[in-house]
Symmetry: C2
Subunit: 463 residues, 2 copies
Amino acid sequence: MSGENQQKRQIKLGAFLMETGHHIAAWRHPDAHASGGLDFAHYAELAQIAERAKFDAVFFADSVSVRDTNLPALSRTARADHFEPLTLLSALSVVTKHVGLIATVSTTFNEPYNLARKFASLDHLSGGRSGWNLVTSSTESEALNFSFERHPEHAIRYERAREFYDVVAGLWDSWEDDAFIRDKASGVYFDPDKLHVLGHAGKHFKVRGPLNVARSPQGWPVVVQAGASEAGRELAAQTAEVIFVAHQTLDEAQSFYRDVKGRLAKYGRAPDHLKIMPGIFPIIGRTQEEADAKFAALQDLIHPTVGLSLLSNMSGGVDLSQYPVDDPLPELPETNGGKSRQRLLFDLARRENLTIRDLYLRIAGARGHQQVVGTPQSIADQLQQWFEEEGADGFNIMSPWLPGGLTEFAELVVPELQRRGLFRTEYEGRTLRENLGLPRPANRYTDVAKQLPATFSFARSLA
Amino acid sequence: MSGENQQKRQIKLGAFLMETGHHIAAWRHPDAHASGGLDFAHYAELAQIAERAKFDAVFFADSVSVRDTNLPALSRTARADHFEPLTLLSALSVVTKHVGLIATVSTTFNEPYNLARKFASLDHLSGGRSGWNLVTSSTESEALNFSFERHPEHAIRYERAREFYDVVAGLWDSWEDDAFIRDKASGVYFDPDKLHVLGHAGKHFKVRGPLNVARSPQGWPVVVQAGASEAGRELAAQTAEVIFVAHQTLDEAQSFYRDVKGRLAKYGRAPDHLKIMPGIFPIIGRTQEEADAKFAALQDLIHPTVGLSLLSNMSGGVDLSQYPVDDPLPELPETNGGKSRQRLLFDLARRENLTIRDLYLRIAGARGHQQVVGTPQSIADQLQQWFEEEGADGFNIMSPWLPGGLTEFAELVVPELQRRGLFRTEYEGRTLRENLGLPRPANRYTDVAKQLPATFSFARSLA
Ligand SMILES: Cc1cc2nc3c(=O)[nH]c(=O)nc-3n(C[C@H](O)[C@H](O)[C@H](O)COP(=O)(O)O)c2cc1C
Ligand SMILES: Cc1cc2nc3c(=O)[nH]c(=O)nc-3n(C[C@H](O)[C@H](O)[C@H](O)COP(=O)(O)O)c2cc1C
């Protein structure tokens, strides 16, 4: 990497790896690895593609249930069988060297001691590459697997999440960085003065500590969030170092970016220490026609049962299964759920005279994320615009199908970004934090001034 | 492996991998890898040594706390910083092909949905090599990390464990073995008739299911237990497929073996479907003198602070730190805790005129497990006797220091057992279950009679 680029702000890239791909029919794509969801070799290949292309991280979403309310539709998608993300990432740490490893784990269905320990453990295993996507979970089907009668309220979930985070971060500081001496001659294994007992007693948790894992290479694994509500934004402003988010337009993205970055100052945080990374659903062709044709071919693979179920989910429960799918949308009474979304969809169909199939195809694709169908150049143009006009610090690449969609991004779009000086050609550091340009947190029990020059190696390159 | 051996009952071997070794001073051994507790390369080497020697499994104990009541002693042992076992085993699955991967996870501090998922995930990652050591946990320090005021009662812990197991096993049957079709042409990903909702509602848990992981290669990961109480034995008789246990004498071992195997019939289980594997702490020399000298050298590494703390732990709180360590044990009043253990120790010291140091050295070594200090031949003799005289189906090898202690067992004792036809020279099967000679459980929702010939491949070799 040139000295010039080292100074220049560059795009951060995450690879969102969802079984066989982000598109709802991805698994049916001729090149998709249909049984990839539980095939380690599949994920090893994906992580290695991402690493060769110098992605900052691979990212795994998660939910702790099968959403089986519409079984006929579910049985036609590849969403019900996949690895638990932390076991998978631990295994991936062995077949990669540089790429960050980010897993989603819910604060609603876990204990902070277990979570702090697993991410610290993964950080040691990977030499400082672990990241935690903190979510509060939003589906009832998950709560029913954890002895809840119903899903806990949004506000309670976020209150618990806030305290959960405090406990986890506190446990990560149980040991000072240089606590372990391991001197065979004297027989001193660690310095007892560098062990700290948390002694947390709050509303949701009582956790004594200390953690039974040494402070990890990153100090704290990188904390990621993906909540967009008011409570979610505020928690992110206080605690997150990366935000994953879904936007459809640059306007939306800019207003979110401004809002969240604006909240940092009151917590004494620099805007640069929180990276905002919207999702991108890219379909790449050498020409626009080729890209359009690729997208159309994927859309063709959506079975009507799956399309209707998507439509029903996104419109708050409208059931269209009794109508011919290639007839125009019939007149329908409004249902109870999600009225504004319903109105939007009905109006759209009426205005453009859409059939039921047309309508579900409209909402299939990226499902809330930015959909870019184009050439490497036109896609790079869009990323560059979002990045330079303060809509994003980087992007979460949601490949339509896997592995092919990721390979195309790595081989066609990444080089274009590199040519423009917008993306690294070599990893800057050894840890995920260093590559993202995030500070390594000093241990709360250590004299920060004394500690800084030794551990904040990132400080030199960012100064 | 010869056709003859295939019929013959053989010893099962587990490698108990504890950071730098089982001996309390192991980390100070000149050949020990002192910082091994958080070094993946260390564990990769150990797992590969075990696999080359055809061990059935590697095994990781666990506790979810640092036991810091005696900080000066703790700071001189390598017991406070280590990987979380499941993250570690997932990574080890990548660098091994045959050896089983058994991790301890407590039923007291976890949720069954998370646990069922992680072990199923590891089973998929490893091609059918995962095992769960179900423990209820016994230390107060752990409870205090999980919002408990004190450690839950023994009976309640076992009641919860029993129900926890039912939920986990039920979730492992969520999908029939052939539920996933993944037919790109028709668009059918799974057969909805082969998905089953558990709907568990009990005293401790309400868990709807289904699990979001396909049924794993072993059907169910192998269930291991290590509880020795009445409640522990009964739970094991109902549910365990392997028992780890600590015995000092063949008599003890035989009586435990008889007792537990005798409990199986009332649950309709064959004695052969539960393998009992006591711990062995082997110190191996080419001659008896060499072995004795090796043991003495290890014992010399025990710092008096550590020795006194061991003595205090094992005698219910006697504090001898104010007396000269090389003086004879002084006359002492009995303390409140563990009176019978105290009496035993005091009587022993009086009888043999032991110093305080002599006394703690007596109890250091194997700490409750069978200690064998000898030549490969004499050690093989002892293992053979326990195995043939119904004291054990196999052994859990607790190497005094690592990696050297395990290497010696693999290179010196294993070949001796193989020469005697007591241990395999090749893995019999692909999964941990197949190697242990355990049946693959049929899915409860499947027609068992129809299912048996296809999946019970073990049945052929054991018949
Ligand atoms: C890119 C992206 C990824 C997400 N991944 C997950 C996930 O894996 N699991 C989950 O439960 N929620 C996930 N979410 C949802 C949010 O994290 C959050 O739980 C949800 O939006 C509700 O919070 P909110 O009300 O603050 O928006 C994701 C959201 C986005 C934008
Ligand atoms: C070889 C062996 C290994 C054990 N490993 C663990 C362990 O890793 N974690 C744990 O909490 N208990 C462990 N135990 C303890 C028992 O599993 C059990 O929790 C304890 O003995 C209390 O149960 P009981 O009252 O039925 O004996 C182990 C015991 C033995 C013999």
